[in-house]
Symmetry: C2
Subunit: 352 residues, 2 copies
């Protein structure tokens, strides 16, 4: 928060003028938006297709730490998180709504930064921001985001359609956001011990970008390619809390088990290099890290060659019957049971 | 929070088992729910109609104070708040999503209480709970709720359709929730000064219910009656932050002014009685109070007789051109300009 910029206190504007200011120029561009900002709710004009909704919270100290998280990036990422869940249903996001809980320590310009990030992400992904609300908060900053999208009924993919013998595939590479988070946390500890210390973040811009300003372009490209090839995933989920959680989501909801081969898991090269330096197992970053915003999906065995040839897709294992459990198979040694993260490990800097 | 009940710590269950437990028996009952809980997002199968969405946050210390707000009521009310906004678009709510931010001071049973309230409201209003998420919070309890509904395209009503000379109507009676809030705040102050003091709440159960467990039945009945009579409001909004804010929402979005007659504003009788006792102007409770969950709407002048004969509807004034401003007309004396509440007054116990 730079103090050289003009700062308008929230009470100077009042809530309605603040919302007006944050909404400036937000005209609908998605053809399905029938009524956007300024009414009690927003309205969409769907075709005969499926409407898909997702919503979630970003809480200060839990999902982000403002000592290193720029507000604009926070806005950007909070929308990406929900758009990712819409894409994970094989649908196209179309509208989004944002509700903020803020205290007086934020000025209007800072909220404009935050909403600016949301707006940037919305415009990049062709989504209309149709709801915007601000209320007071006694404590931390709260960002609530809801997103809505559509797809043809026959394109809709949930977590429950995976069957024994089918293949498990992952988009992109995993672990970069987790290692970026480690870097930021390390610097935060250094800074707290010595406020004059200079951040040691050079050479790590890629990892930092993966945690601070994640993108979904890779997912979107893979989904488009699969659609073009007539390859519909049988089950799919967003990898946003580590691959282990994503695998267990699909196994549990589909009533299957899985075998995932450690040497086929696409660990991000930058992440692997830093993990080695920091003596962290790169597979831990991929399995239990989180916030990769990549997709885990299953396809029938007969699609093996086809799916393996799609750029940005790795076949990492297969599904078994439920009784066989969910295990990771290392190149040597015993299979390792895949476990869900506990309450504390769910989110970076997880709380009590 | 009774300490005689069994308390399961959140970490004993872990997040997934907690969500499972909170989701038990939540099978879809609304015919438009295509995929509910357990996927990345939820999916609806709309007809060719309009899809309507609303979402918002309830923050501890701002929207509720747990010293007097039972968790079950809080869950109930947090859903009602968003269903009200769907009804205010003249649509039928169908699905809802809840995201909680909680700290370790809550046990599993307490979250079950909270979600139990959401579930009760959902079942009473025929709504499916299709999304449920919990994350850690360092500080206060956060409840994020999104709701979705539908209506025929020609039934959709926003805030922007009101025109000069049209009539302004209000459902139900106003001010009861505000006076209930005053009672609770008074008791909280007494309790903080003397923890052995007995609450003085006898005889006020109606006012307390209006703040702690509001209903939308009155609104729903009026909307059904208007539809049956072929009377579509030209503009409509939820009265959830006082009548003054609702009036200004419609005036601003429709580009009109208004005259509202003080003696036609339906002040709740219980609220008026207590207001007199506490030396509060009953009109203040109605105009600036909030959380009434009633509807303000406009209709063409020619509908005057028809709308005035609908049970639970009061015609309170009319719309003027924008230049004439928004004013309340008292029985005697000068017109009073209707002003928006400031930042601090927006919510009960509003924060910095």
């Amino acid at each position: 928060m730079s103090d050289t910029k003009k700062r308008t206190e929230l009470h100077e504007l009042g809530r309605y003028r603040l919302l007006e200011r944050l909404s400036e120029g937000l005209d609908p561009c998605n053809r399905t938006t029938a009524m956007g900002l300024g009414h009690d709710a927003s309205a969409m004009a769907p075709t005969k297709r499926r409407v898909v909704m997702a919503s979630g919270l970003m809480l200060e100290g839990i999902h982000f730490n403002l000592t290193y998280f720029p507000l604009k990036h926070l806005g950007y990422k909070s929308l990406i998180a929900q758009l990712g869940r819409i894409y994970a249903m094989n649908a196209e996001p179309q509208q989004a709504q944002v509700a903020l809980g803020v205290s007086g320590r934020f000025g209007v310009e800072e909220l404009e930064e935050l909403v600016g990030g949301v707006r940037l992400a919305a415009s990049r992904y062709g989504v209309d921001l149709v709801g915007l609300d601000v209320s007071s908060s006694y404590t931390g900053l709260t960002v609530g985001v809801g997103a809505q999208g559509q797809c043809d009924a026959r394109e809709l993919v949930g977590r429950s359609g995976a069957r024994e013998h089918q293949l498990l595939c992952v988009t992109g590479a995993l672990g970069a956001a987790y290692m970026g988070q480690q870097l930021l946390e390390r610097e935060r500890r250094v800074f707290e011990a010595n406020p004059y210390a200079q951040p040691q973040l050079e050479g790590h811009s890629y990892l930092l970008e993966r945690i601070l300003k994640p993108e979904l372009r890779g997912c979107v490209a893979v989904l488009a390619e699969l659609r073009q090839r007539g390859l519909r995933p049988t089950a799919m989920t967003l990898v946003n809390e580590g691959l282990a959680s994503a695998l267990l989501h699909i196994c549990q909801r589909s009533g299957v088990g899985c075998r995932v081969y450690a040497d086929r898991i696409p660990v991000d090269a930058h992440a692997a290099a830093l993990a080695e330096e920091l003596r962290i197992d790169p597979l831990t970053a991929a399995m239990n890290g989180g916030e990769d915003y990549e997709l885990l999906f299953s396809v029938p065995v007969k699609a093996h060659q086809e799916v393996a040839s799609v750029e940005g897709v790795s076949v990492v294992g297969h599904l078994t019957d439920a009784g066989a459990g969910a295990y990771m198979v290392p190149p040597h040694g015993d299979e390792l049971r895949i476990t869900a993260q506990g309450w504390n490990a769910i989110v970076p800097g997880g709380a009590d």
